[in-house]
Symmetry: C2
Subunit: 195 residues, 2 copies
DNA sequence: GCCGACTTGACTGAACTCATTCAGTGGCAT
DNA sequence: ATGCCACTGAATGAGTTCAGTCAAGTCGGC
């Protein structure tokens, strides 16, 4: 077999890309590490030079999707001006780039834990954005939130949990309403703010 | 080898108990399915008559811990009277029977996703309790929460996420304060309730 | 009521698959 | 020329499957 050496970062990325493609095509469980190395045209052992385990590759894939999503949301907020409240609802109501990520989820099939992990990671992707929005809101008086970081974490995880459970809330609309209400309250954006 | 048949439910429970013991003793990864069957004195294949996979056994273990915790919290609430608000803080501030569960977490070592899953499952253990407390609070006027189920889910997942991240909030006390504030707000338990 | 054929599914254990490891190889930079 | 380390590919071993076995219960005939 011909031996082709590539720059480390490029090879690592190649593994992640190939793995993501195969996971989406055939599912995570049905994708063998051998499939990844075969499609890349390298020895199976090489994969383990870059990643501790098959699961570790999955984590790298997830992290890449998270990074892409972070960047997309950042860009979205950068290009849309508006009041803090408007920007907040922009953040919560749009799901830019959930496409890739939405493709990965079904490929995880029976791996419940990993699916929840995904949702949490994706939720936390917007953590820094939400924190700075909260701080901006506190500054301009539209919000009243003493612990921006903790509250942001709380809200994003709560949101993730609620999005996950498809069986619980009968109607999507109810869920959406509930989310809106609880977020407004948590961030102290009540129409009648305290003195 | 002698062949000993047992009632299905008993055998299933025996596998779960043996697995939990071994997971805690040696860690999940270091526990082999062969260890479980060996300690039980049965063939390895039998385990797969009851569970799809090793991971599936872990899920069963987690679910059992969740059920125990549910029961314990239920008992706790049953034996302590008080106002709705008092009962709420009882629910959030005590962690009855996190012992077992706390033993399992370290045994999961590097399985990040499963650890998060555990935390979420354990948080959801008190879902029905929280829902009925919220409904009680709505009835007696101490709370004002239009979507009890959704809000309860949101709060519990938010809480779980916040508990998980040890690195984020510098001080436990800050975290506790933040949790208290955000829960009070989410449930509509503001000191100055609307008309 | 008792006995033997029959059915069922809990159970066995060896084969198999696939993730992971490892001792060695060769391209590349110095 | 030499050392480093990306890379090979076969060996290892743990999880999973599967073809077959046996205990226990069921049913029909005596």
């Amino acid at each position: 077999m011909p031996r082709i050496t590539k720059p480390v970062e490029e090879r690592r990325q190649e593994i992640i890309d190939t793995a993501l493609a195969l996971f989406v095509e055939n599912g995570f469980d049905k994708t063998q590490v051998a499939d990844i190395s075969k499609r890349m045209g390298v020895a199976q052992g090489l994969v383990y030079h870059y990643f501790k385990s098959k699961t570790d590759i999955l984590y790298a894939v997830i992290d890449q999707l998270r990074a892409e999503q972070s960047a997309n949301m950042q860009r979205l907020l950068d290009t849309h001006a508006g009041t803090t409240l408007e920007r907040l609802s922009l953040l919560f109501e749009t799901r830019p780039d959930f496409e890739h990520y939405g493709q990965l989820i079904p490929s995880l099939q029976s791996n419940r834990a990993v699916i929840e992990y995904c949702v949490q990671i994706m939720s936390e992707a917007s953590l820094p954005l939400l924190v700075s929005l909260i701080e901006a809101g506190n500054a301009d008086g539209s919000l009243n939130c003493e612990y921006p970081l903790e509250t942001a974490l709380f809200v994003l995880h709560g949101l993730g949990g609620l999005v996950m459970t498809s069986d619980v809330a009968a109607h999507e609309e109810t869920k959406r309403q509930a989310i809106k209400t609880v977020i407004i309250r948590a961030l102290g954006a009540d129409p009648a703010p305290p003195t």
